[in-house]
Symmetry: D2
Subunit: 138 residues, 4 copies
């Protein structure tokens, strides 16, 4: 796994950047991201909008599932919203549930500063026969 290349590749995710999701840690099949909650993330009842939580978790999921360098496209996500938050930092930790196959399964736990579970996210990817980037420059 070429961490710098993956970080560079995912710096191109403009919606994750708009939402303020950032990569904290990255290993093969694993990624931890964070998001500093601010007013722009709030919904009409003043808690972080489901879409902001989803975007954070989905970004961690995308990085973890593409960390092997093979293009992986999200096909399904199930998310349960277990606690509302209005401030602080949210973390999303994505990990692979099984060996990478054509269909890969990942879980992402979204927690707050204190480690309390805010959302549980389970996602599936379909792996294409494509590399994330062309042949490495020599």
């Amino acid at each position: 796994m070429d961490e710098q290349r993956i970080r560079s590749f995912f710096s191109g995710d403009r919606f994750a950047a708009l939402a303020g999701a950032e990569i904290v840690e990255l290993k093969p099949g694993y990624c931890r991201c964070k998001l500093e909650v601010s007013e722009k993330h709030l919904n009409a009842v003043n808690v972080v909008q489901g879409g902001a939580i989803f975007t954070l978790a989905d970004f961690a999921f995308a990085v973890a599932s593409n960390s092997h360098g093979q293009l992986a496209l999200a096909i399904n996500v199930n998310i349960s919203f277990l606690a509302g938050r209005s401030s602080g930092t949210l973390f999303a930790e994505a990990r692979e549930l099984a060996d990478p196959n054509r269909i890969g399964a990942y879980e992402v736990r979204v927690t707050d500063d204190a480690g309390a579970l805010v959302a549980q996210f389970n996602g599936l990817v379909y792996r294409k026969n494509e590399r994330l980037w062309g042949q490495a420059p020599s």
Copy 2:
């Protein structure tokens, strides 16, 4: 249903506004929203990020499920991503699958300009014993 009040209430959803999701049509238990795709919605492989699609659908879901004036909180969403898009307009149409109960079930279909299905979203809410707003001003 007081449409103006609901529209005004949901104008307070700052993350939906950041993502560019807008209400198009609103009826009891129903909402249609749209999002004009631009570069800010794209991910690292240049298609609309899952979080942007989710935010659009989730906004339609929130408006439809709260349209009865009783506070409804999202507890679970399942979303399948069926086609990628990089431009154009996306629409999300949310409707109630069963009579409103303590647990309400909604479906949201996200389609493109041509009506092709881009994502299928199914969501559940938990209805609280709270109104969305206080007693109406006289």
Copy 3:
């Protein structure tokens, strides 16, 4: 679509038979099944067990998704249980949400005798490069 061949093929589903799920109607991308509720389907609180409802819906999903003659394997299902039933007949109606692709999306609605929604089931299949049966006998 060769309806008799599909019916014959799915008569080999022993668990669906054990649960009492039967095919009622079959068209390309579509299947309607039924289950007559009896005591064997009940759980510890005397309503139809989630697994029985799932088996009925999953059988309709399997038949609909394999009705094109290409092997389709279920990869993900999301099911919401919206009403409990203890007797009567349950119906499951499966239909294709989008044109058949490598990843196919289906929805199944489980209803009671009166047409009330008992469960909402959304499923994804992965289509393999295999036919359900060998070359047709001449």
Copy 4:
């Protein structure tokens, strides 16, 4: 937690019994069940039917989520089928993801004899203001 009472209560789950799901271990918020695969569990392509896997997992989920003695009804399940099996023993291990609340979140991992992940199941319950049984006889 009164283990004998919970076991006795769940011996009334007739569909779980029909499917052959049995409780192996039980603790507050936790349950491990097993199922010995036999021909009756197979589908038309000779692997364990999705409904049989679901029933096993759902039984572990029901026992774990009701282990506090308060009636918990399943409202949503998301299941991913990650590997097919035609024989052997399947195990389902259910555990609570967060402190018990009105809405409880559980995860169930279904594995084979060798510990390989066969299915990932995530479920939500709604807790009613009812006990599983009346006052204990004196």
